[in-house]
């Protein structure tokens, strides 16, 4: 194994070097910004920046909104993408058109997608017309807290395709023969799902869960494009806080907020990782 690793090293080094140079070093270097006061003397202030940021009501609002949005969007994305992937998997070999076209929103530029969304959810747009046709009242989607709904829908629409592809490839990689053997042995659909499908799909599911949360945490440009730097309270995310701090040239607060959020995300992913291991053990009948 050692020999194999040594052989692989030349191939890994360029990528690792890039990762170190553009991610690792800045990540570590940013810590210095977060523990100094940013004045001309640039004095060390310990964890004061972290304390003040943590206590800042706008940081708290942004963090709360970021977590809320991700807890809404990520599970929805996960569930919908799995269901859609399962459906597309059943449609084989037909449905090639749907399998291709499901990725299209992911490939479209965000600004173009946003413009379409703005037209759809405009006060006089098609969505409101449908609502009024169904007997409801028009809603000002683009102003106020109602903007959350178009943002969530946009997130789902844009990211669904990629997650579907991941699930689909996981489903398609399960050998058909396993299902055939199971059927021959008299296993029910439920048994097959829990004994064959899920254990083999869990690693991909974990990946999709990670991707969903990462994408959800990154919801910002849609809100910024429509609501600006200071949208209504329910839409003000942590990214807004960090962006505004950056524009105010307060790099200390930006880095402190970013590291605290990174810590929260690491904890979350740690939790997901543990959940994955537990789920796999249970599905494989271990422990």
């Amino acid at each position: 194994m050692y020999k194999k690793f040594r052989q692989a090293l030349p191939f890994l080094l360029p990528g690792m070097a890039g990762l170190l140079l553009f991610y690792g070093i800045p990540f570590i270097g940013g810590i210095w910004y977060s523990v100094t006061d940013g004045s001309v003397k640039n004095e060390f202030v310990g964890l004061n920046n972290y304390t003040s940021v943590w206590q800042n009501p706008m940081f708290q609002l942004g963090l709360r909104n970021a977590l809320e949005l991700s807890l809404i969007c990520a599970p929805l994305l996960f569930l919908l993408s799995f269901l859609l992937a399962a459906g597309l998997h059943r449609m084989r070999p037909a449905g090639a058109f749907f399998r291709s076209s499901v990725l299209m929103p992911y490939l479209m530029p965000s600004s173009a997608v946003l413009i379409i969304w703005l037209l759809w959810f405009d006060y006089g747009g098609p969505v409101n017309r449908i609502l009024t046709a169904l007997g409801g009242q028009r809603i000002d989607w683009l102003l106020g807290a109602e903007l959350r709904i178009p943002v969530i829908l946009l997130f789902l629409w844009k990211n669904l395709g990629f997650c579907v592809i991941v699930f689909l490839s996981a489903l398609q990689s399960i050998p058909e023969s396993l299902y055939e053997y199971a059927t021959l042995e008299g296993a029910s659909f439920r048994k097959q799902t829990f004994s064959i499908t899920l254990p083999l799909v869990v690693p991909s599911a974990f990946l999709v869960a990670i991707l969903s949360f990462v994408s959800a945490f990154r919801i910002f440009k849609e809100i910024y494009f429509i609501g600006g730097a200071y949208p209504k309270d329910p839409l003000y995310t942590l990214q807004n806080y960090m962006s505004n701090m950056y524009n105010k040239l307060n790099y200390q607060n930006v880095t402190a907020a970013a590291y605290m959020f990174a810590l929260i995300v690491f904890l979350l992913f740690g939790l997901l990782f543990l959940s994955q291991r537990t789920a796999l053990k249970r599905l494989n009948g271990e422990g």
């Binding site: 001309v40 706008m58 600006g228 730097a229 200071y230 701090m245 307060n250």
Partner: protein, 796 residues
Amino acid sequence: MKKIFALILAAMMLLTCVPAMAGAGDQTIVHADNNSYYNNEYIQNVVSAADNQLYAFVRGNNAEILRVYSLDSGEHTDYILRDYNDGDDSSLLDWYEITDEGISLKEDAVREITEEERYNTAAWFAWNGSIYAIQWKNEYNPETESQSIEGGFVKKVKLEDGKVSLEDTTDIPRLDWTEMIQEYGEGWQDSKQLESTTVCGNTLIGRSWDTNGYPTLEVFDLTTGFHRELEVDENATLYISGDSILASIEDYEENSISYTISQVDPENGEQKELLSCTIEGDGNYMYGMVYDAEKDTLYYIMNGEIWAMPSLQPDAAAAVCDCPTTGNMFFLQDGRMLIWDSSTIVIRNIDPATRGTETRMIVNAYAYGGGLEEAIFDFANAHGDVTVVVKRGGNRQTILQDMMNRESETDIYTMDYDWSEFSALLNRGYLTDMSGNAKIAADNAALYPYIREALVKDGQVVAVPLGISGGAISIDRKAWKEIGGTEEELPKTWNQFIEWLETLPEKVKDQNIGIFDSYTSDSEFIHRVMTQILNEYEARLENAGGEFSFNTPELRELLERVQKVDAEALGLKAHSDMEEGYYDYEGEYKEPLIQIYNESTMQTWGGSSYSPLLLSFEENEQPILPISLTVAFINPYSTKAELAAEYLAIAGRKLWQDALYSLYSDMTEPVISPYYEENHERSVKQLEDVKTLLNAAKTEQEIHDWTETLKSYEEMMENEEEYKWIVSPENIADYQARTPCMRVAAYSFVSDMVKDEKSAEAFWSMLDGFSRGDVSAAELLDNIDSKVQMMRLEGN
């Protein structure tokens, strides 16, 4: 050869200690600072002959002068070209004859225009070591009441006894001037002027414009007089210098300019594209281009420096020396570059190899501040080995990153005081203490208190003001008195202002005065008043401390009242009547009583008869007038902090007079117009003559005519008195009286709301909606307040 010339010249310059020299070979021939502009003398053209002299054609208030500069010594000699005051000593009594029958015009009263006076000069140029003028003649035929032009007369310049005489010469035949004559209406003609003339061999080339205002290239053969007019692209800017004839087409983008530069062949007008390039960055304009075909290098002025682009490769372009002005450029015989504009002639050695070592001081002027270019000349006199480069524009958001990187390339920055970037620098102690410079300290002490306290932090002087401005709703107090208004009737609060507006229609009825300017619309009025109220309210909140909120019943009620003002009664146009942004103006124009936006700082040149209405939000509360300040400060990481302070000490007092008087409390001396004494003396004499003639008048008609004449002369003298001041005692007193109400506008939440494009669009859209009555005061203030509260909670 040129290098040898440059070296010899550089040595001579060093020995003779010509002032204002930075790199070896640099020279300042002349520079008139901002305030000497009032003497109304400006340079029209500069020509260089092969005699180590420069010929500058200067138009002054009283004369046209040919000023000959010696390149060796920098000294100059003036020769009068035309004296405007010739014959102006005549008296009215010389024109009229008083007899027992009455007054009659003398037969010889009307002086014949001399032959010389019929001639006008279209251009000057140097050829074969001599200076020539191209003239055209104006002929008026009183019988047909028509006028005609003849042109193309080439005269040789002779300098003698302090005068310029233009002599006929056979050196150059008369030039074909037919195409240079333009027709205007029936029987009227005018001649085109020729600018940026240059001689290439025996061909004279100059720039002119056709009747549509598009540039043309005029080419004259000096041996035959033949003329060719070459058309160039209507969007092209022509740069003519020696054998470099360039046409530049510029395409402006948001943060860049694309140039397509072509060389024009004067033989046939063919344009050969030399290069296409895009210059990035705000403020990076290419001026005064010259192409040296021998070196295949393009020279141009950009951002305070002369740049060289060898082989026409944009990537290879580099700055070769500083350049304190933008203007016309041409090569001198010795290879140096001469740059001139209406007030300045400088020479620069553009060969980096022979410039020697020099210290560069960089000024990054993110905000427009005066005095920076002006200070270069005085500073260079004291520090001949230091060049100052003033770069205008640029991205100010990089400044804090520069601070954190301890960037030392820039020595001085300028910013507006209310920018968030400046606020961040000020709060974090990035501004260098300049108290050690005695002049800066003294000037700081001389500032008005409200400005001084803004520029001192923890007892240290941290910035120097370079610009000041402020807006306010203003009233013509003289007109107000004329319509029977008193000072006591004027409003003291914003609510009183709304009530007072309602009384005005009756007040101005049957008067020769309007309430607002005829072109002001209802939405413009509301927009302007609302903006002023918001700015003053924010300043009030900052000043008072305590709860910081716009969404208060007091402000809501006030804005609602503003929105409900009876626009029609006040004579305001309905915004819906605007077509393509314009109104069709009908009816008699009336001077307005109120200006919805007028400068609240000192104004010069009689400035304005309008002075600000000082309005508070509550009775017996001091009003607050927010003032914008542009300041300069030293980079804490600059290695030339002392030099930078010296430079700023000069720049701080090199501002235009209105800025100086607005900033410094020691500027209390009124300034009379330089033309006043002379004009007044003449007017007094003429008035006396008219009175004499009126006394001698016999018939009723004569008495009536001379009485009318006397009235018009008296009105003229009243006007002279009104406009005799550049800075009047009343303006000074008026301004000093309102300085206690003024506050330097610091970081503004409302201004910061429009920093990003999306927020700005939403904000202005909401303000427009409010102006049009589509958005209520409550909605507007709720929107502003929610954002402001978020900004405040975020902190800084």
